[in-house]
């Protein structure tokens, strides 16, 4: 075979392989974002709330836990807040309702208190003064929402603001797969 033909055949093989990869690869279509933590034990989190109550994630095993990384000046955080309030109110009526926590990201306690006083939301707000919780979960930008199952495994990561019904739908799916 002539070198020119060999070269053309090689280029054709590479092109076909490239197109095949594009065809068979599945794009991100769901609300869940990728993370190496999905399906893994959640990182150990020990901190305090902005009201100085102790918090240890290991002690919450047996409950579904939702972490919402938040900053009071972040526009998407403000936009999703009413959806979160509705979600938490609905969950409070369930026997196996989630335990919902705000993780304060690069914000002052007083600013967070003012926000929640003005906008409702009586769940605990966790301090993350040195950003170690954000780093442990790989959170670079807020808002982000994470769901941890009663066995302590990370089950879902949602990037950006959630809209009405998304968390309810995701929890229903997770509960059906968990069998609770």
């Amino acid at each position: 075979m002539k070198p020119a033909k060999v070269g053309a055949a090689a280029v054709a093989v590479v092109l076909v392989a490239f197109i095949a990869v594009l065809v068979v690869s599945d794009g991100d279509t769901g609300v869940g974002a990728r993370s190496p933590l999905l399906g893994q034990p959640a990182p150990a989190i020990v901190t305090t709330t902005i009201d100085d109550a102790p918090f240890d994630l290991a002690r919450r095993k047996g409950s579904w836990v939702v972490f919402n990384f938040f900053n009071s000046t972040c526009v998407p955080c403000i936009a999703e807040h009413s959806s979160l309030v509705r979600f938490v109110a609905d969950e409070a009526e369930r026997v196996d309702g989630v335990e919902f926590f705000t993780v304060v990201n690069d914000d002052a306690d007083d600013a967070v208190r003012s926000f929640f006083t003005a906008n409702d939301g009586k769940w605990p707000k966790l301090r993350d003064d040195d950003g170690s919780i954000a780093v442990a979960f790989g959170v670079a930008k807020v808002p982000e929402t994470w769901i941890i199952d009663p066995n302590g495994f990370v089950r879902l990561r949602i990037l950006g603001a959630v809209v009405d019904g998304v968390l309810e739908e995701q929890m229903a799916q997770l509960r059906s797969t968990q069998g609770s």
Binding site: P54, G131, P150
Partner: protein
């Protein structure tokens, strides 16, 4: 002339390989903690800014990563590569300023070397042909078959040399992340064992008890493992005879008591103690006390569900 050129090329190749091998195995000596923090943060990209390392960025995400790196360096439990691996595990490979030298990312290192070698070989071949065409004007067509074999061998050799050289460069230059595993690089730690134990608990009690036992070998004062191992042992013992139940009862009470002693704020141990004291020991008064103390400590939903109705039953029994 030809022999001399061959010696020069051989010397260049040997020197290159020697330098690569030296670079990959050399010991750079001890660094101060601050040196280590700087070195590590220069290898990590700020996840919220374009083209800046964590070392130079003042973004809050970069500051949080820098604080985490400082904490891990201060703990002294992880090597530089392991700290970088931890961060890359959390934020993804995109935060590595130097791509990895393994897996799919290694193609970044391998392909340029491969292309260089292949193109050099192709150019060499072309020059040789032109030289031959210029010097030997008339060549018999019967001699065309012979170069075909050497051409095929040349292609194979070129690709092999290109890939091998690329892999060598990748191993030398790419970031190697020792903690990474196909499942995401979580270590087989007590946290992982505890999570596995909880996952096994409802369906495979024997495995769960073994896993909690392994946690206690690593950390004898682990409150969760003490509590849940004792609880599962008691549940399992209920199907056996009186003697085994009695032994299990004694060991369960001891283990739960130890868990409460270690962490009096842990509600699960208090709840299980209440259940066991009542169901297996018949002591409603003590059970009510333990259950009420558990409920005061805000147990998780799963445990609360076990004791809420029991609390009402105990109340009724004690009052009736």
């Amino acid at each position: 002339m030809f022999a001399r050129r061959r010696i020069v090329w051989t010397a260049i190749i040997v020197a290159t390989i020697a330098l690569l091998v030296f670079g990959s195995v050399r010991d750079t000596g001890p660094l101060t903690q601050q040196d280590r923090i700087d070195t590590i943060t220069k290898r990590i990209a700020c996840p919220t800014c374009d083209g800046e390392s964590v070392f130079v960025s003042r973004a809050s995400a970069a500051q949080a990563i820098r604080a985490e790196v400082a904490r891990q360096v201060g703990d002294g439990a992880r090597t530089d590569d392991e700290v970088v691996a931890y961060i890359a595990d959390r934020f993804g490979g995109a935060v590595l300023l130097l791509p990895r030298g393994t897996g799919f990312d290694a193609l970044i290192w391998v392909l340029p070397v491969l292309f260089t070698v292949v193109l050099s070989a192709a150019l060499g071949l072309a020059f040789r042909r032109w030289q031959r065409a210029g010097t030997v004007a008339a060549v018999s067509t019967s001699k065309v078959a012979a170069p075909r074999r050497s051409f095929a061998i040349g292609i194979v050799l070129t690709v092999v040399v290109g890939v091998a050289g690329g892999v060598l460069v990748a191993r030398q230059s790419g970031q190697r992340l020792p903690l990474q595993t196909p499942t995401g690089g979580i270590e087989d730690s007590t946290a992982s064992l505890l999570a596995q134990a909880r996952f096994s608990g409802p369906t495979d009690v024997k495995t769960a008890i073994e896993l909690y036992g392994r946690v206690l070998e690593l950390d004898p004062d682990n409150v969760e493992a003490l509590t849940y191992r004792a609880w599962l042992i008691m549940l399992s013992a209920r199907q056996f005879d009186e003697l085994i139940r009695s032994q299990a009862y004694t060991s369960t009470i001891t283990a739960l008591g130890r868990a409460i002693e270690l962490d009096s704020a842990y509600p699960d141990a208090m709840c299980f103690l209440g259940i066991v004291v009542y169901r297996d020991g018949g002591d409603a008064k003590s059970a009510k006390e333990f259950v009420d103390r558990c409920l005061e400590r805000d147990p998780p939903a799963e445990v609360r569900g076990l004791v809420e109705s029991l609390s009402a039953d105990l109340e009724a029994e004690l009052n009736g």
